[in-house]
Symmetry: C2
Subunit: 287 residues, 2 copies
DNA sequence: GCTCGGTGATACCTGGAAGGTATCACCGAG
DNA sequence: CTCGGTGATACCTTCCAGGTATCACCGAGC
Protein backbone atom coordinates (compact mmCIF):
# COMPACT_ATOMS: atom_id res chain seq x y z
CA UNK A 1 0.00 0.00 0.00
CA UNK A 2 2.76 2.46 0.86
CA UNK A 3 4.68 1.29 -2.18
CA UNK A 4 5.32 4.78 -3.43
CA UNK A 5 9.00 5.57 -3.69
CA UNK A 6 10.27 9.11 -3.31
CA UNK A 7 11.86 8.93 -6.73
CA UNK A 8 8.61 7.90 -8.39
CA UNK A 9 6.78 10.67 -6.61
CA UNK A 10 9.34 13.23 -7.79
CA UNK A 11 8.96 11.94 -11.33
CA UNK A 12 5.20 12.07 -11.22
CA UNK A 13 5.14 15.58 -9.82
CA UNK A 14 7.46 16.77 -12.58
CA UNK A 15 5.20 15.29 -15.25
CA UNK A 16 2.05 16.52 -13.55
CA UNK A 17 3.41 20.05 -13.41
CA UNK A 18 4.86 20.15 -16.90
CA UNK A 19 2.11 18.05 -18.51
CA UNK A 20 4.80 16.98 -20.94
CA UNK A 21 7.07 13.94 -20.61
CA UNK A 22 9.94 15.43 -22.58
CA UNK A 23 10.17 18.66 -20.61
CA UNK A 24 9.64 16.82 -17.34
CA UNK A 25 12.47 14.44 -18.18
CA UNK A 26 14.73 17.35 -19.03
CA UNK A 27 13.88 19.05 -15.74
CA UNK A 28 14.70 15.82 -13.93
CA UNK A 29 17.97 15.47 -15.79
CA UNK A 30 17.11 12.15 -17.40
CA UNK A 31 15.91 10.73 -20.70
CA UNK A 32 12.24 10.52 -21.59
CA UNK A 33 11.78 6.75 -22.02
CA UNK A 34 12.71 5.73 -18.47
CA UNK A 35 10.44 8.47 -17.21
CA UNK A 36 7.50 7.14 -19.23
CA UNK A 37 8.17 3.67 -17.93
CA UNK A 38 8.45 4.83 -14.32
CA UNK A 39 5.05 6.51 -14.53
CA UNK A 40 3.51 3.42 -16.13
CA UNK A 41 4.94 1.28 -13.37
CA UNK A 42 3.56 3.65 -10.78
CA UNK A 43 0.11 3.58 -12.35
CA UNK A 44 0.19 -0.19 -12.50
CA UNK A 45 1.29 -0.43 -8.87
CA UNK A 46 -1.37 1.97 -7.60
CA UNK A 47 -3.98 0.36 -9.82
CA UNK A 48 -5.24 3.68 -11.17
CA UNK A 49 -4.46 5.77 -14.20
CA UNK A 50 -2.97 9.12 -13.27
CA UNK A 51 -2.64 10.72 -16.68
CA UNK A 52 -4.57 10.57 -19.92
CA UNK A 53 -2.20 10.57 -22.87
CA UNK A 54 -4.09 11.81 -25.84
CA UNK A 55 -3.01 13.59 -28.96
CA UNK A 56 -1.31 16.85 -28.12
CA UNK A 57 0.00 16.28 -24.66
CA UNK A 58 -1.06 14.98 -21.34
CA UNK A 59 -3.85 15.71 -18.85
CA UNK A 60 -4.38 14.74 -15.22
CA UNK A 61 -7.12 12.34 -14.17
CA UNK A 62 -8.96 12.74 -10.88
CA UNK A 63 -6.52 10.38 -9.23
CA UNK A 64 -3.67 12.32 -10.78
CA UNK A 65 -4.91 15.59 -9.36
CA UNK A 66 -5.23 13.99 -5.95
CA UNK A 67 -1.68 12.64 -6.15
CA UNK A 68 -0.41 16.01 -7.27
CA UNK A 69 -1.95 17.72 -4.22
CA UNK A 70 -1.18 15.14 -1.60
CA UNK A 71 2.09 14.15 -3.20
CA UNK A 72 3.57 17.65 -3.10
CA UNK A 73 2.79 17.82 0.59
CA UNK A 74 4.34 14.40 1.10
CA UNK A 75 7.48 15.29 -0.82
CA UNK A 76 7.80 18.46 1.22
CA UNK A 77 7.47 16.39 4.37
CA UNK A 78 10.23 14.07 3.21
CA UNK A 79 12.69 16.78 2.30
CA UNK A 80 11.80 18.47 5.58
CA UNK A 81 12.61 15.27 7.47
CA UNK A 82 15.94 14.90 5.71
CA UNK A 83 16.89 18.54 6.14
CA UNK A 84 15.94 18.73 9.79
CA UNK A 85 17.79 15.51 10.54
CA UNK A 86 20.87 16.88 8.81
CA UNK A 87 20.60 20.08 10.78
CA UNK A 88 20.06 18.28 14.07
CA UNK A 89 23.21 16.30 13.38
CA UNK A 90 25.14 19.42 12.44
CA UNK A 91 25.83 18.14 8.94
CA UNK A 92 26.20 21.61 7.48
CA UNK A 93 27.89 23.05 10.53
CA UNK A 94 31.63 22.45 10.89
CA UNK A 95 31.35 23.02 14.63
CA UNK A 96 29.25 19.90 14.96
CA UNK A 97 25.74 19.30 16.25
CA UNK A 98 24.35 22.20 18.23
CA UNK A 99 21.00 23.50 19.17
CA UNK A 100 19.87 25.87 16.45
CA UNK A 101 16.65 27.11 15.00
CA UNK A 102 16.08 28.59 11.56
CA UNK A 103 13.73 31.56 11.54
CA UNK A 104 12.31 32.63 8.19
CA UNK A 105 11.41 36.30 7.81
CA UNK A 106 10.23 38.27 4.82
CA UNK A 107 13.28 40.11 3.59
CA UNK A 108 11.40 43.41 3.35
CA UNK A 109 9.82 43.26 6.79
CA UNK A 110 10.73 45.53 9.65
CA UNK A 111 13.86 44.89 11.65
CA UNK A 112 12.47 46.41 14.80
CA UNK A 113 10.26 43.54 15.88
CA UNK A 114 12.88 41.02 14.82
CA UNK A 115 15.56 42.73 16.90
CA UNK A 116 13.36 42.82 19.95
CA UNK A 117 12.48 39.18 19.49
CA UNK A 118 16.06 38.02 19.08
CA UNK A 119 17.23 40.07 22.05
CA UNK A 120 14.45 38.80 24.27
CA UNK A 121 15.14 35.22 23.33
CA UNK A 122 18.90 35.52 23.68
CA UNK A 123 18.34 36.59 27.28
CA UNK A 124 16.64 33.28 28.08
CA UNK A 125 18.67 30.56 29.75
CA UNK A 126 19.70 27.76 27.37
CA UNK A 127 18.78 29.85 24.35
CA UNK A 128 19.49 28.09 21.08
CA UNK A 129 21.22 29.90 18.26
CA UNK A 130 18.85 31.49 15.79
CA UNK A 131 19.68 31.52 12.10
CA UNK A 132 17.69 34.26 10.43
CA UNK A 133 16.77 33.18 6.92
CA UNK A 134 15.51 35.94 4.64
CA UNK A 135 12.76 34.72 2.34
CA UNK A 136 11.02 36.05 -0.72
CA UNK A 137 7.51 37.41 -0.66
CA UNK A 138 5.24 34.90 1.00
CA UNK A 139 7.83 32.15 0.75
CA UNK A 140 7.83 31.44 4.48
CA UNK A 141 5.04 28.89 4.30
CA UNK A 142 6.94 26.80 1.80
CA UNK A 143 10.10 27.09 3.87
CA UNK A 144 8.36 25.77 6.96
CA UNK A 145 6.82 22.95 4.98
CA UNK A 146 9.98 21.72 3.33
CA UNK A 147 12.18 22.09 6.37
CA UNK A 148 14.37 24.98 5.28
CA UNK A 149 12.99 26.82 8.30
CA UNK A 150 11.70 25.76 11.70
CA UNK A 151 9.69 28.84 12.56
CA UNK A 152 8.68 31.97 10.69
CA UNK A 153 7.32 35.47 11.06
CA UNK A 154 4.21 35.59 8.92
CA UNK A 155 1.99 38.46 7.96
CA UNK A 156 -1.73 38.02 7.74
CA UNK A 157 -3.53 38.43 5.37
CA UNK A 158 -0.61 37.81 2.99
CA UNK A 159 0.42 34.48 4.45
CA UNK A 160 -1.98 31.64 5.04
CA UNK A 161 -1.63 30.00 8.44
CA UNK A 162 -3.43 26.75 7.60
CA UNK A 163 -1.54 23.77 8.90
CA UNK A 164 0.60 25.83 11.23
CA UNK A 165 0.34 26.75 14.85
CA UNK A 166 0.85 30.43 15.53
CA UNK A 167 0.77 33.24 18.04
CA UNK A 168 -0.18 36.81 17.25
CA UNK A 169 2.59 39.34 17.85
CA UNK A 170 1.63 42.69 16.43
CA UNK A 171 -1.00 44.52 14.39
CA UNK A 172 -0.29 47.54 12.26
CA UNK A 173 -2.04 49.63 9.66
CA UNK A 174 -0.85 50.12 6.11
CA UNK A 175 0.56 53.17 4.39
CA UNK A 176 0.96 54.32 0.83
CA UNK A 177 4.52 55.27 -0.05
CA UNK A 178 4.49 58.09 -2.59
CA UNK A 179 7.04 60.35 -4.23
CA UNK A 180 7.35 63.36 -1.93
CA UNK A 181 6.44 65.78 -4.70
CA UNK A 182 3.26 64.06 -5.84
CA UNK A 183 -0.04 65.92 -5.24
CA UNK A 184 -1.48 62.96 -3.31
CA UNK A 185 1.42 63.16 -0.86
CA UNK A 186 -0.14 66.27 0.60
CA UNK A 187 -3.16 64.36 1.87
CA UNK A 188 -3.48 63.41 5.51
CA UNK A 189 -4.98 59.99 4.65
CA UNK A 190 -5.85 58.06 1.52
CA UNK A 191 -8.01 55.11 0.54
CA UNK A 192 -7.03 52.07 -1.48
CA UNK A 193 -9.10 53.39 -4.36
CA UNK A 194 -7.10 56.63 -4.29
CA UNK A 195 -3.78 54.90 -4.83
CA UNK A 196 -4.85 52.12 -7.16
CA UNK A 197 -6.27 54.27 -9.92
CA UNK A 198 -3.61 56.95 -10.45
CA UNK A 199 -2.83 57.15 -14.18
CA UNK A 200 0.68 58.56 -13.83
CA UNK A 201 1.60 56.41 -10.82
CA UNK A 202 0.82 52.70 -11.32
CA UNK A 203 1.02 50.37 -8.30
CA UNK A 204 4.27 48.43 -8.01
CA UNK A 205 3.99 44.66 -8.50
CA UNK A 206 5.85 42.15 -6.34
CA UNK A 207 6.57 38.65 -7.52
CA UNK A 208 4.86 35.86 -5.66
CA UNK A 209 6.48 32.48 -6.30
CA UNK A 210 8.17 33.98 -9.32
CA UNK A 211 4.90 35.16 -10.85
CA UNK A 212 3.94 38.79 -11.09
CA UNK A 213 0.30 39.89 -10.87
CA UNK A 214 -0.94 41.61 -14.02
CA UNK A 215 -1.04 45.34 -14.17
CA UNK A 216 0.70 48.38 -15.59
CA UNK A 217 3.15 48.97 -12.73
CA UNK A 218 6.84 48.02 -12.72
CA UNK A 219 7.95 44.56 -11.59
CA UNK A 220 9.85 44.84 -8.33
CA UNK A 221 12.75 42.60 -7.38
CA UNK A 222 14.01 44.19 -4.21
CA UNK A 223 13.31 46.97 -1.80
CA UNK A 224 16.10 49.24 -2.95
CA UNK A 225 14.88 49.12 -6.51
CA UNK A 226 11.38 49.94 -5.33
CA UNK A 227 12.61 52.83 -3.20
CA UNK A 228 14.40 54.25 -6.20
CA UNK A 229 11.41 53.93 -8.50
CA UNK A 230 9.23 55.71 -5.97
CA UNK A 231 11.80 58.43 -5.48
CA UNK A 232 11.85 58.91 -9.24
CA UNK A 233 8.10 59.41 -9.21
CA UNK A 234 7.45 56.29 -11.28
CA UNK A 235 5.39 54.18 -8.95
CA UNK A 236 3.58 53.95 -5.64
CA UNK A 237 3.54 51.07 -3.17
CA UNK A 238 1.44 49.92 -0.23
CA UNK A 239 3.26 48.65 2.86
CA UNK A 240 2.67 47.95 6.53
CA UNK A 241 3.28 50.85 8.83
CA UNK A 242 6.69 49.61 9.91
CA UNK A 243 8.05 50.27 6.43
CA UNK A 244 8.47 53.89 7.58
CA UNK A 245 11.79 52.74 8.97
CA UNK A 246 13.41 52.56 5.55
CA UNK A 247 11.85 55.58 3.83
CA UNK A 248 14.03 58.11 2.01
CA UNK A 249 13.75 61.87 2.09
CA UNK A 250 12.20 61.70 -1.38
CA UNK A 251 9.35 59.51 -0.05
CA UNK A 252 6.15 60.42 1.72
CA UNK A 253 4.09 57.95 3.73
CA UNK A 254 0.35 58.46 3.90
CA UNK A 255 -1.86 56.22 6.08
CA UNK A 256 -4.50 54.21 4.27
CA UNK A 257 -7.91 54.29 5.91
CA UNK A 258 -9.46 51.20 4.37
CA UNK A 259 -6.51 48.84 3.92
CA UNK A 260 -6.81 45.67 5.98
CA UNK A 261 -4.57 45.72 9.06
CA UNK A 262 -1.47 43.55 8.84
CA UNK A 263 -1.08 41.08 11.69
CA UNK A 264 2.35 39.65 12.32
CA UNK A 265 2.37 36.11 13.72
CA UNK A 266 5.09 33.78 14.78
CA UNK A 267 4.22 30.44 13.17
CA UNK A 268 5.63 26.91 13.18
CA UNK A 269 4.64 23.45 11.91
CA UNK A 270 1.83 22.17 14.09
CA UNK A 271 3.61 18.93 14.92
CA UNK A 272 6.81 20.57 16.18
CA UNK A 273 7.87 19.50 19.62
CA UNK A 274 11.16 21.28 20.15
CA UNK A 275 12.24 22.89 23.37
CA UNK A 276 14.13 25.64 21.57
CA UNK A 277 11.05 26.48 19.57
CA UNK A 278 8.88 26.56 22.67
CA UNK A 279 11.35 28.98 24.26
CA UNK A 280 11.33 31.27 21.26
CA UNK A 281 7.55 31.33 21.15
CA UNK A 282 7.44 32.06 24.84
CA UNK A 283 9.86 34.95 24.40
CA UNK A 284 7.81 36.22 21.46
CA UNK A 285 4.51 36.25 23.30
CA UNK A 286 6.09 38.16 26.17
CA UNK A 287 7.20 41.02 23.92
CA UNK B 1 19.16 17.11 -0.54
CA UNK B 2 15.85 15.31 -0.82
CA UNK B 3 17.72 12.09 -1.45
CA UNK B 4 15.75 10.14 1.10
CA UNK B 5 13.95 7.19 -0.44
CA UNK B 6 10.75 5.86 1.05
CA UNK B 7 12.31 2.44 1.48
CA UNK B 8 15.23 3.83 3.43
CA UNK B 9 12.89 5.83 5.60
CA UNK B 10 10.81 2.73 6.33
CA UNK B 11 13.95 0.85 7.24
CA UNK B 12 15.21 3.57 9.51
CA UNK B 13 11.90 3.92 11.29
CA UNK B 14 11.79 0.19 11.94
CA UNK B 15 15.29 0.25 13.46
CA UNK B 16 14.59 3.43 15.40
CA UNK B 17 11.48 1.91 16.92
CA UNK B 18 12.93 -1.51 17.66
CA UNK B 19 16.41 -0.25 18.57
CA UNK B 20 17.59 -3.62 17.34
CA UNK B 21 18.71 -4.47 13.80
CA UNK B 22 17.71 -8.12 13.99
CA UNK B 23 14.17 -7.54 15.15
CA UNK B 24 13.74 -4.61 12.77
CA UNK B 25 14.88 -6.77 9.85
CA UNK B 26 12.45 -9.48 10.86
CA UNK B 27 9.64 -6.97 11.06
CA UNK B 28 10.57 -5.73 7.59
CA UNK B 29 10.70 -9.26 6.24
CA UNK B 30 14.34 -9.12 5.24
CA UNK B 31 17.76 -10.24 6.44
CA UNK B 32 19.79 -8.19 8.88
CA UNK B 33 22.93 -7.46 6.80
CA UNK B 34 21.21 -5.53 3.98
CA UNK B 35 19.35 -3.55 6.61
CA UNK B 36 22.58 -2.58 8.35
CA UNK B 37 24.05 -1.55 5.04
CA UNK B 38 21.01 0.48 4.05
CA UNK B 39 21.20 2.45 7.29
CA UNK B 40 24.91 3.03 6.84
CA UNK B 41 24.29 4.28 3.31
CA UNK B 42 21.59 6.59 4.59
CA UNK B 43 23.85 8.00 7.29
CA UNK B 44 26.62 8.54 4.77
CA UNK B 45 24.25 10.25 2.35
CA UNK B 46 22.77 12.56 4.99
CA UNK B 47 26.20 13.21 6.42
CA UNK B 48 25.09 12.60 10.00
CA UNK B 49 25.10 9.62 12.29
CA UNK B 50 21.61 8.55 13.26
CA UNK B 51 22.36 5.70 15.65
CA UNK B 52 25.07 4.93 18.13
CA UNK B 53 25.90 1.25 18.04
CA UNK B 54 27.43 0.37 21.34
CA UNK B 55 27.57 -2.84 23.29
CA UNK B 56 24.14 -4.16 24.04
CA UNK B 57 22.04 -2.61 21.34
CA UNK B 58 21.44 0.66 19.63
CA UNK B 59 20.51 4.20 20.67
CA UNK B 60 19.27 7.22 18.73
CA UNK B 61 21.41 10.32 18.28
CA UNK B 62 19.87 13.78 18.17
CA UNK B 63 19.66 13.59 14.40
CA UNK B 64 18.11 10.15 14.72
CA UNK B 65 15.42 11.40 17.05
CA UNK B 66 14.66 14.23 14.65
CA UNK B 67 14.42 11.82 11.74
CA UNK B 68 12.20 9.52 13.75
CA UNK B 69 9.81 12.38 14.49
CA UNK B 70 9.75 14.10 11.15
CA UNK B 71 10.16 10.86 9.23
CA UNK B 72 7.06 9.22 10.68
CA UNK B 73 5.05 12.24 9.66
CA UNK B 74 6.58 12.13 6.19
CA UNK B 75 5.90 8.41 5.80
CA UNK B 76 2.32 8.98 6.86
CA UNK B 77 2.05 11.74 4.27
CA UNK B 78 3.35 9.40 1.58
CA UNK B 79 1.04 6.55 2.36
CA UNK B 80 -1.78 9.08 2.59
CA UNK B 81 -0.94 10.40 -0.88
CA UNK B 82 -0.89 6.89 -2.33
CA UNK B 83 -4.10 5.84 -0.63
CA UNK B 84 -6.02 8.96 -1.52
CA UNK B 85 -4.87 8.75 -5.13
CA UNK B 86 -5.99 5.12 -5.26
CA UNK B 87 -9.34 6.05 -3.80
CA UNK B 88 -9.81 9.00 -6.12
CA UNK B 89 -9.18 6.66 -9.04
CA UNK B 90 -11.58 4.08 -7.65
CA UNK B 91 -8.85 1.47 -7.38
CA UNK B 92 -10.60 -0.42 -4.61
CA UNK B 93 -14.09 0.17 -5.96
CA UNK B 94 -15.28 -2.16 -8.72
CA UNK B 95 -17.79 0.47 -9.84
CA UNK B 96 -14.98 2.77 -10.89
CA UNK B 97 -13.95 6.24 -9.76
CA UNK B 98 -16.64 8.05 -7.84
CA UNK B 99 -16.83 10.83 -5.39
CA UNK B 100 -16.49 9.37 -1.93
CA UNK B 101 -15.29 10.46 1.46
CA UNK B 102 -14.11 8.26 4.30
CA UNK B 103 -15.33 9.39 7.71
CA UNK B 104 -13.58 7.93 10.76
CA UNK B 105 -15.63 7.64 13.92
CA UNK B 106 -14.83 6.11 17.27
CA UNK B 107 -16.57 2.75 17.24
CA UNK B 108 -18.05 3.31 20.68
CA UNK B 109 -19.38 6.81 20.04
CA UNK B 110 -23.03 7.69 19.79
CA UNK B 111 -24.95 6.94 16.63
CA UNK B 112 -27.35 9.79 17.10
CA UNK B 113 -25.10 12.63 15.99
CA UNK B 114 -23.68 10.50 13.20
CA UNK B 115 -27.13 9.70 11.85
CA UNK B 116 -28.17 13.33 11.88
CA UNK B 117 -24.97 14.30 10.12
CA UNK B 118 -25.26 11.68 7.41
CA UNK B 119 -28.91 12.49 6.81
CA UNK B 120 -28.26 16.21 6.62
CA UNK B 121 -25.41 15.73 4.20
CA UNK B 122 -27.27 13.24 2.01
CA UNK B 123 -29.93 15.90 1.49
CA UNK B 124 -27.38 18.22 -0.11
CA UNK B 125 -27.20 18.41 -3.87
CA UNK B 126 -24.19 16.56 -5.32
CA UNK B 127 -23.57 14.80 -2.04
CA UNK B 128 -20.65 12.38 -2.24
CA UNK B 129 -20.95 8.92 -0.78
CA UNK B 130 -19.73 8.65 2.78
CA UNK B 131 -17.90 5.54 3.93
CA UNK B 132 -18.10 5.32 7.69
CA UNK B 133 -14.92 3.79 9.05
CA UNK B 134 -15.06 2.64 12.66
CA UNK B 135 -11.81 3.27 14.44
CA UNK B 136 -10.29 2.17 17.72
CA UNK B 137 -9.95 4.45 20.70
CA UNK B 138 -8.25 7.65 19.60
CA UNK B 139 -7.15 6.15 16.31
CA UNK B 140 -8.84 8.80 14.20
CA UNK B 141 -5.84 11.14 14.21
CA UNK B 142 -3.62 8.45 12.75
CA UNK B 143 -6.24 7.57 10.16
CA UNK B 144 -6.46 11.15 8.95
CA UNK B 145 -2.70 11.41 8.85
CA UNK B 146 -2.05 8.26 6.85
CA UNK B 147 -4.96 8.70 4.48
CA UNK B 148 -7.20 5.86 5.60
CA UNK B 149 -9.77 8.56 6.35
CA UNK B 150 -10.51 12.00 4.92
CA UNK B 151 -12.45 13.43 7.80
CA UNK B 152 -13.20 12.33 11.36
CA UNK B 153 -15.38 12.91 14.36
CA UNK B 154 -13.03 13.63 17.23
CA UNK B 155 -13.65 14.02 20.90
CA UNK B 156 -11.80 16.59 22.91
CA UNK B 157 -10.02 16.19 25.27
CA UNK B 158 -9.29 12.61 24.17
CA UNK B 159 -8.17 13.50 20.66
CA UNK B 160 -5.58 16.12 19.90
CA UNK B 161 -6.54 18.48 17.09
CA UNK B 162 -3.04 19.77 16.34
CA UNK B 163 -2.41 19.88 12.64
CA UNK B 164 -6.06 19.54 11.74
CA UNK B 165 -8.76 22.04 10.93
CA UNK B 166 -11.97 21.46 12.82
CA UNK B 167 -15.42 22.71 13.68
CA UNK B 168 -17.12 22.20 17.01
CA UNK B 169 -20.33 20.18 16.82
CA UNK B 170 -21.51 19.28 20.29
CA UNK B 171 -20.62 19.42 23.96
CA UNK B 172 -21.78 16.92 26.52
CA UNK B 173 -21.09 16.00 30.10
CA UNK B 174 -19.81 12.64 31.29
CA UNK B 175 -21.50 9.91 33.27
CA UNK B 176 -20.39 6.99 35.33
CA UNK B 177 -21.91 3.69 34.26
CA UNK B 178 -22.40 1.47 37.28
CA UNK B 179 -24.01 -1.88 37.99
CA UNK B 180 -27.64 -1.08 38.85
CA UNK B 181 -27.41 -2.75 42.22
CA UNK B 182 -24.31 -0.98 43.47
CA UNK B 183 -24.69 1.42 46.42
CA UNK B 184 -23.19 4.32 44.42
CA UNK B 185 -25.87 3.88 41.77
CA UNK B 186 -28.35 5.40 44.17
CA UNK B 187 -26.59 8.77 44.12
CA UNK B 188 -27.93 11.65 42.07
CA UNK B 189 -24.43 12.76 41.04
CA UNK B 190 -20.87 11.59 41.61
CA UNK B 191 -17.37 12.99 41.34
CA UNK B 192 -14.40 11.48 39.58
CA UNK B 193 -12.86 10.75 42.96
CA UNK B 194 -15.96 8.78 43.94
CA UNK B 195 -15.68 6.37 41.02
CA UNK B 196 -11.92 6.04 40.77
CA UNK B 197 -11.27 4.76 44.26
CA UNK B 198 -13.88 2.04 44.76
CA UNK B 199 -12.15 -1.08 46.08
CA UNK B 200 -14.69 -3.59 44.79
CA UNK B 201 -15.27 -1.80 41.46
CA UNK B 202 -12.02 -0.93 39.62
CA UNK B 203 -12.21 1.44 36.61
CA UNK B 204 -12.23 -0.32 33.24
CA UNK B 205 -9.14 0.23 31.09
CA UNK B 206 -9.35 0.86 27.33
CA UNK B 207 -6.43 0.21 25.06
CA UNK B 208 -4.88 3.19 23.36
CA UNK B 209 -2.69 2.23 20.42
CA UNK B 210 -2.64 -1.31 21.73
CA UNK B 211 -1.35 -0.26 25.16
CA UNK B 212 -3.44 -0.42 28.28
CA UNK B 213 -2.96 2.10 31.08
CA UNK B 214 -1.88 0.52 34.35
CA UNK B 215 -4.46 -0.20 36.99
CA UNK B 216 -6.42 -2.95 38.66
CA UNK B 217 -9.45 -2.82 36.32
CA UNK B 218 -10.17 -5.28 33.50
CA UNK B 219 -8.79 -4.67 30.01
CA UNK B 220 -11.63 -3.83 27.64
CA UNK B 221 -11.68 -4.82 23.99
CA UNK B 222 -15.17 -3.82 22.92
CA UNK B 223 -18.28 -2.19 24.18
CA UNK B 224 -20.30 -5.38 24.55
CA UNK B 225 -17.67 -6.92 26.75
CA UNK B 226 -17.61 -3.79 28.87
CA UNK B 227 -21.39 -3.74 29.15
CA UNK B 228 -21.32 -7.31 30.34
CA UNK B 229 -18.60 -6.71 32.91
CA UNK B 230 -20.53 -3.76 34.33
CA UNK B 231 -23.75 -5.75 34.41
CA UNK B 232 -21.90 -8.44 36.34
CA UNK B 233 -20.82 -5.86 38.88
CA UNK B 234 -17.14 -6.25 38.10
CA UNK B 235 -16.22 -2.81 36.88
CA UNK B 236 -17.31 0.78 36.36
CA UNK B 237 -16.70 3.03 33.37
CA UNK B 238 -16.82 6.74 32.55
CA UNK B 239 -18.42 7.77 29.27
CA UNK B 240 -19.85 10.82 27.54
CA UNK B 241 -23.50 11.43 28.14
CA UNK B 242 -24.56 9.99 24.81
CA UNK B 243 -23.50 6.54 25.95
CA UNK B 244 -26.90 6.33 27.67
CA UNK B 245 -28.16 5.16 24.27
CA UNK B 246 -26.65 1.73 24.70
CA UNK B 247 -27.18 1.10 28.41
CA UNK B 248 -28.74 -2.15 29.60
CA UNK B 249 -31.37 -2.59 32.25
CA UNK B 250 -28.64 -3.83 34.59
CA UNK B 251 -26.77 -0.50 34.25
CA UNK B 252 -27.24 2.79 35.99
CA UNK B 253 -25.88 6.07 34.67
CA UNK B 254 -24.90 8.75 37.18
CA UNK B 255 -23.76 12.21 36.02
CA UNK B 256 -20.25 13.23 37.03
CA UNK B 257 -19.98 16.72 38.38
CA UNK B 258 -16.28 17.34 37.89
CA UNK B 259 -15.45 15.38 34.73
CA UNK B 260 -14.29 17.58 31.87
CA UNK B 261 -16.98 18.11 29.22
CA UNK B 262 -16.50 16.15 26.00
CA UNK B 263 -16.56 18.28 22.86
CA UNK B 264 -17.22 16.53 19.58
CA UNK B 265 -15.52 18.11 16.57
CA UNK B 266 -15.52 17.33 12.91
CA UNK B 267 -11.86 17.47 11.86
CA UNK B 268 -9.88 17.11 8.65
CA UNK B 269 -6.30 17.59 7.44
CA UNK B 270 -5.61 21.30 7.27
CA UNK B 271 -4.47 21.18 3.67
CA UNK B 272 -7.60 19.47 2.31
CA UNK B 273 -9.25 21.23 -0.57
CA UNK B 274 -12.10 18.92 -1.51
CA UNK B 275 -15.57 20.06 -2.46
CA UNK B 276 -17.18 16.99 -0.94
CA UNK B 277 -15.41 17.67 2.34
CA UNK B 278 -16.48 21.30 2.32
CA UNK B 279 -20.07 20.19 1.81
CA UNK B 280 -19.92 17.74 4.68
CA UNK B 281 -18.47 20.35 7.00
CA UNK B 282 -21.15 22.82 5.96
CA UNK B 283 -23.84 20.25 6.67
CA UNK B 284 -22.23 19.49 10.03
CA UNK B 285 -22.08 23.07 11.20
CA UNK B 286 -25.74 23.55 10.31
CA UNK B 287 -26.87 20.73 12.58
C1' DG C 1 -2.65 12.66 -49.94
C1' DC C 2 1.54 12.70 -48.26
C1' DT C 3 5.14 14.21 -45.60
C1' DC C 4 6.95 16.24 -41.53
C1' DG C 5 7.48 17.56 -36.74
C1' DG C 6 6.47 16.39 -32.34
C1' DT C 7 4.54 13.37 -29.05
C1' DG C 8 4.74 9.21 -25.96
C1' DA C 9 5.68 4.06 -26.16
C1' DT C 10 8.61 -0.03 -27.08
C1' DA C 11 12.88 -2.91 -27.61
C1' DC C 12 17.07 -3.95 -26.05
C1' DC C 13 21.24 -3.46 -23.42
C1' DT C 14 24.12 -2.38 -19.31
C1' DG C 15 25.75 -0.94 -14.76
C1' DG C 16 24.81 -0.64 -10.21
C1' DA C 17 22.28 -1.22 -6.28
C1' DA C 18 19.50 -4.18 -3.27
C1' DG C 19 19.03 -8.40 -1.22
C1' DG C 20 20.62 -13.11 0.33
C1' DT C 21 24.18 -16.39 2.73
C1' DA C 22 28.22 -17.18 5.25
C1' DT C 23 31.20 -15.36 8.30
C1' DC C 24 33.75 -12.15 11.18
C1' DA C 25 34.68 -9.00 15.16
C1' DC C 26 33.28 -7.44 19.37
C1' DC C 27 31.73 -7.57 24.10
C1' DG C 28 29.33 -8.77 28.39
C1' DA C 29 27.80 -12.57 31.25
C1' DG C 30 28.60 -16.59 33.27
C1' DC D 1 37.91 -18.17 28.93
C1' DT D 2 34.29 -19.56 26.56
C1' DC D 3 29.70 -18.68 24.84
C1' DG D 4 25.64 -16.23 23.23
C1' DG D 5 24.14 -12.36 21.04
C1' DT D 6 25.04 -8.21 18.63
C1' DG D 7 26.09 -5.51 14.33
C1' DA D 8 29.56 -5.37 10.38
C1' DT D 9 31.94 -7.35 6.30
C1' DA D 10 32.74 -10.24 2.17
C1' DC D 11 31.00 -12.04 -1.69
C1' DC D 12 27.62 -13.37 -4.96
C1' DT D 13 23.21 -12.97 -7.68
C1' DT D 14 19.41 -10.88 -9.36
C1' DC D 15 16.80 -7.32 -10.98
C1' DC D 16 15.63 -2.79 -11.96
C1' DA D 17 16.70 1.93 -13.22
C1' DG D 18 18.52 4.34 -16.80
C1' DG D 19 20.53 5.04 -21.54
C1' DT D 20 20.17 4.68 -26.90
C1' DA D 21 17.74 3.65 -30.93
C1' DT D 22 13.53 3.26 -32.87
C1' DC D 23 8.59 2.80 -33.50
C1' DA D 24 3.63 4.24 -33.67
C1' DC D 25 0.56 7.81 -33.71
C1' DC D 26 -1.53 12.14 -34.99
C1' DG D 27 -2.26 16.98 -36.46
C1' DA D 28 -0.66 20.55 -39.45
C1' DG D 29 0.87 21.93 -43.44
C1' DC D 30 2.18 22.05 -48.65
Amino acid sequence: MDILETRELRYFLAVAEELHFGRAAERLGMAQPPLSRAIQRLERRLGVSLLTRNRRGVALTGAGEMLLYEGSAALDAITAAARRARRAGGADDPRGPRNRLVLAVKAASSHELLHKLLDAYAAEPDAAEIDVLPSGTCEQEEMLRDGRADVALMHKPFNSLTGFDSEELMTEGQIAILPAGHPLAAHKTLSLADVSGIPDLPLARWSRNGVYPPGPGPEIHDQTQLAQLIALGRTVAVFPDSARAWLWAEHTAVPLTDAPPVVTHIAWPAHSRSLALAGLVRAATRL
